[in-house]
């Protein structure tokens, strides 16, 4: 089940909210867990068992690590837990990738396993690992299986993040408060996220599909595609994160922010501080720093960077284009870190922004490509190496048809709208009673319009995949 679907919005969510609201405090986690299991089983009726096994193992290993804290056994338990979790992930997500590559390298014909990829396995595996490592590092283990299962399986963040740290919500699991302020905030974040997903990301996705099936491509069409897919991925994933954060707040949880306008970055280094923040910080805390981070020799430092970015790419998918995508960023980050950053600070802003946007757009062409050959062909065509005309009738038509959407998406990818909204909502006129009423009514009106229009798009359309579900 996806958040931006009629079954979720009008059938599942109202029932869950009602049950949650009427449940006594001590039963609220049970309601959340049951709802989460139904939510997961809706898409993966059988693989819900795999998640349940992962949770139970995480629970047992957490207790064992805590019990043997300070001894070598704790380390063994931590390693065993990580090996099992990564083993599940490796089997379900990467086995066929390795088999296919072994076959290609050796000429063997080992059969592919063709196992279904459990939705969200990359996300909940990383949450489990963070929990186990944090317990090993000294955090108190969760003694309630119900609470740990609620943390891992909580449907707002279960299948596409943010990757919530146990330490961030450990307190909320047992003693959270529910305030109208949080509920209002949750509603606002959810509706904004839904609109980003349905009104922008899905429409840009349609443009990308039109491009892919077009028989009249041109250099301009390739650029339109590259820009559209970059914006689509951003609005799709950040929209999902907004919805997750909003839903979390409705249930009394405060999840970490996952995006912070990455396209306004002045370097690729900054871009990755603003893009998929929960994943970046996970790799920093559980891979990069344990490897030694930057407090090692230059060679080792480089090695650490490349390992982290190889894994970041590989985490996104079992295909070479994801690995190349990760290593592409590693190269850019290394160049910036060791050579360019000091010069970039003195360069004109337009030039620096242009470089970051170009780097990110090319990265998402690689990211979205079916394979590396296709990625190279696309990038070549963008720079005129495809033997294509500069424009075509079809390109101009779709440029005209999607111009407003592209402009809105470009504006929406900057903090401009938020800044204007904040200025209006915190202006002096809103401090009077009448001003408060009017500003509240205005905000509600905007949200209701966005919600109703998003519903209209959902009712009409069938194009609604979440890109990050495959990770």
């Amino acid at each position: 089940m996806v958040f931006s679907s009629i079954p979720f919005l009008y059938y599942f969510l109202p029932i869950v909210l009602l049950c949650y609201a009427v449940a006594p405090a001590k039963c609220k986690n049970m309601v959340l867990l049951l709802a989460s299991l139904v939510f997961y089983a809706w898409g993966e009726p059988k693989l819900v068992l795999l998640m349940a096994v992962s949770v139970v193992l995480g629970y047992v290993f957490g207790l064992l690590i805590e019990k043997h804290r300070g001894t070598i056994h704790a380390k063994y338990y931590m390693i065993a837990s990580i090996v099992i979790s990564v083993g599940f992930l490796g089997y379900f997500k990467y086995a066929d990738f390795f088999i296919a590559n072994i076959n290609m390298a050796t000429g063997l014909s080992l059969p592919l396993l063709k196992v279904a990829l459990p939705i969200g396995i990359s996300f909940y595996t990383f949450q489990l690992i963070s929990y186990i490592v944090d317990v090993y590092r000294g955090t108190a283990a969760q003694h309630s299986l119900l609470n740990l299962a609620t943390y891992i399986a909580m449907f707002p963040q279960l299948i596409a993040g943010p990757i919530v740290r146990y330490t961030d919500i450990a307190k909320d699991l047992t003693e959270r408060v529910h305030r109208f302020e949080d509920i209002a905030y949750g509603i606002r974040r959810f509706v904004i996220g839904l609109s980003k997903k349905v009104l922008i990301a899905n429409q840009l996705g349609e443009l990308c599909d039109i491009f892919q099936s077009s028989g009249e491509q041109s250099v301009l069409f390739f650029w339109m595609y590259a820009i559209s897919v970059s914006l689509q991925i951003y609005f799709d994933f950040s929209g999902y994160s907004d919805m997750a954060i909003g839903l979390g707040r409705l249930f009394g949880f405060k999840f970490m922010e996952n995006f912070n306008y990455p396209y306004i970055s002045k370097s690729v280094t900054e871009f990755w501080r603003r893009w998929h923040i929960s994943l970046g910080s996970w790799f920093r805390d559980y891979i990069y720093i344990p490897l030694g981070g930057n407090r090692v020799s230059k060679g080792r430092h480089l090695f650490n960077i490349f390992v982290v970015w190889f894994l970041t790419g590989f985490w996104h998918g079992a295909a070479w284009n994801f690995i190349v995508w990760g290593l592409y960023f590693a190269v850019l980050l290394v160049i910036e870190k060791f050579f360019m950053l000091k010069y970039m600070e003195r360069m004109p802003k337009v030039l620096v922004h242009g470089y970051v946007l170009l780097a990110s757009v090319i990265s998402f062409v690689i990211f979205d490509a079916a394979n590396m050959a296709s990625a190279f062909a696309y990038i070549g065509a963008m720079f005129g190496f495809g033997g294509l005309p500069l424009v075509s009738v079809e390109t101009l038509y779709y440029l005209r048809s999607y111009a407003i959407l592209l402009i809105l998406a470009l504006i929406g990818a900057t903090p401009l709208v938020k800044s204007i909204a904040n200025r209006i909502m915190t202006a002096q006129w809103t401090e009077s009673t009448l001003g408060t009423v009017l500003s509240t009514a205005l905000e509600l009106l905007v949200l209701i319009v966005l919600f109703v229009v998003s519903t209209a798009y959902l009712v009409d359309g069938s194009f609604n995949p979440f890109l990050y579900f495959r990770f």
Partner: protein, 365 residues
């Protein structure tokens, strides 16, 4: 004050959200969508099997989309936002120019054309080769031919399409009707042409097949509005069409037989005129085999038309020149069955299809 604001904020949104949700839960399921001309999905079968294999979930999603309260209004809202706010030129590939609604069709589908050519060739080789029949083919331009390029919409290359058919069907004689048609000859909300606008086309076809037609008709108009196939897909509020049809004594005396359902019928099926798709009044709509006998004919010539739905409205206009017309729809009739209905001997044979059908991969298997 702030706390009050949050409370009001939450309550107003909750009332809207839960109200809509309650309506979703309680609204009785509709059986049919008039605007989309299709049956709507009903609540799926719920059992252990459908739950475990996930079919219940996917069907439930389709059910909720189909049965959403005020579905047509929400679809209209989407179409309006798409057109007037986002400035998009089409809605789900449907566009409107000067009141004329059409569907984008931008690429010549080589696979579809090959399928059509292969189908026609197989039929020709099986039944007509080395016989004394006179074989012709013609194609009816879809509305995009007149609308798309002129208004900045991408259009398929009709020259390429025609060239491919000319090469593939070089054993037939081509009758060009493109110059005789204009956008005004088509319904505003539908893909089809208007019968009262194609009298000259019928004369031209007959003339090219060596038959003279010079008939006078009385134009009739249906009382009920005609919302064509594009109306529901566009989603925007537009005026309905009115179906017009031509009558005279010859047509009134024709004997029409529907071999698919083994029944006699009229040239114009007035029951269907009042039904969901009034265009089906022309020879009863999508039927695989029909014969029209003209007892008042001054000739014993026969015509066999391989046709699509466009043929239903033009065939009555050819009746004057023939004693018998047989209409065959090769999309619904297997080629092995054709011999059961027609013995090919000295007839005129016309393959008449619209470019939208010829360029559609699923039309001919």
């Amino acid at each position: 004050m702030k706390q009050k604001k949050y409370r009001i904020y939450t309550c107003v949104f909750a009332v809207l959200f839960f109200s809509l949700s309650i309506v979703c839960w309680l609204k009785p399921a509709d059986a049919f969508s008039v605007t989309e001309r299709r049956p709507l999905d009903q609540f799926p079968t719920l059992n252990v099997n459908t739950l475990l294999n996930g079919s219940f979930m996917s069907k439930f999603e389709e059910y909720t989309l189909d049965q959403f309260p005020l579905r047509d209004d929400f679809r209209s809202l989407k179409a309006m936002v798409s057109k007037y706010v986002l400035g998009q030129k089409d809605n789900n590939n449907i566009y409107i120019v000067d009141g004329q609604i059409s569907e984008l069709d931008v690429a010549v589908n080589e696979k579809a054309l090959s399928k059509a050519i292969n189908k026609f060739t197989t039929i020709y080789d099986t039944y007509m080769k080395d016989t004394n029949v006179h074989v012709y083919y013609s194609m009816i331009p879809d509305k995009n031919y007149f609308l798309a390029e002129q208004h900045g919409y991408p259009a398929l290359d009709y020259d390429v399409l025609r060239e491919k058919l000319h090469i593939g069907l070089d054993y037939m004689q081509y009758i060009d009707i493109f110059p005789l048609l204009s956008i005004g000859d088509y319904y505003y909300t539908d893909t089809h042409w208007r019968q009262d606008c194609i009298v000259e086309v019928a004369k031209h076809l007959a003339d090219a097949m060596g038959t003279d037609i010079d008939t006078v008709y009385t134009t009739q108009e249906l009382d009920n509005p005609f919302y064509g196939v594009y109306y529901g897909q566009l989603g925007l509020p537009v005026d309905a069409d009115r179906i017009t049809y031509l009558t005279n004594d010859t047509l009134a005396n024709c004997i029409v037989y529907d071999h698919q359902n083994d029944r006699e019928m009229s040239v114009y099926d007035m029951d269907k005129a009042a039904d969901r798709d009034p265009y089906e009044m022309f020879l009863g709509g999508s039927l695989a085999v029909i014969t029209i006998d003209n007892p008042n004919a001054n000739t014993d010539k026969e015509l066999v038309i391989f046709r699509d739905s466009f043929g239903s409205s033009i065939a009555p206009l050819l009746v004057e020149g023939y004693a018998k017309i047989t209409l065959l729809d090769a999309r619904y009739l297997h080629q092995n069955m054709i011999g059961n209905f027609v013995t090919f001997d000295n007839q005129d044979v016309l393959f008449l299809h619209s470019t939208s059908v010829l360029n559609n991969e699923i039309a001919f298997k």
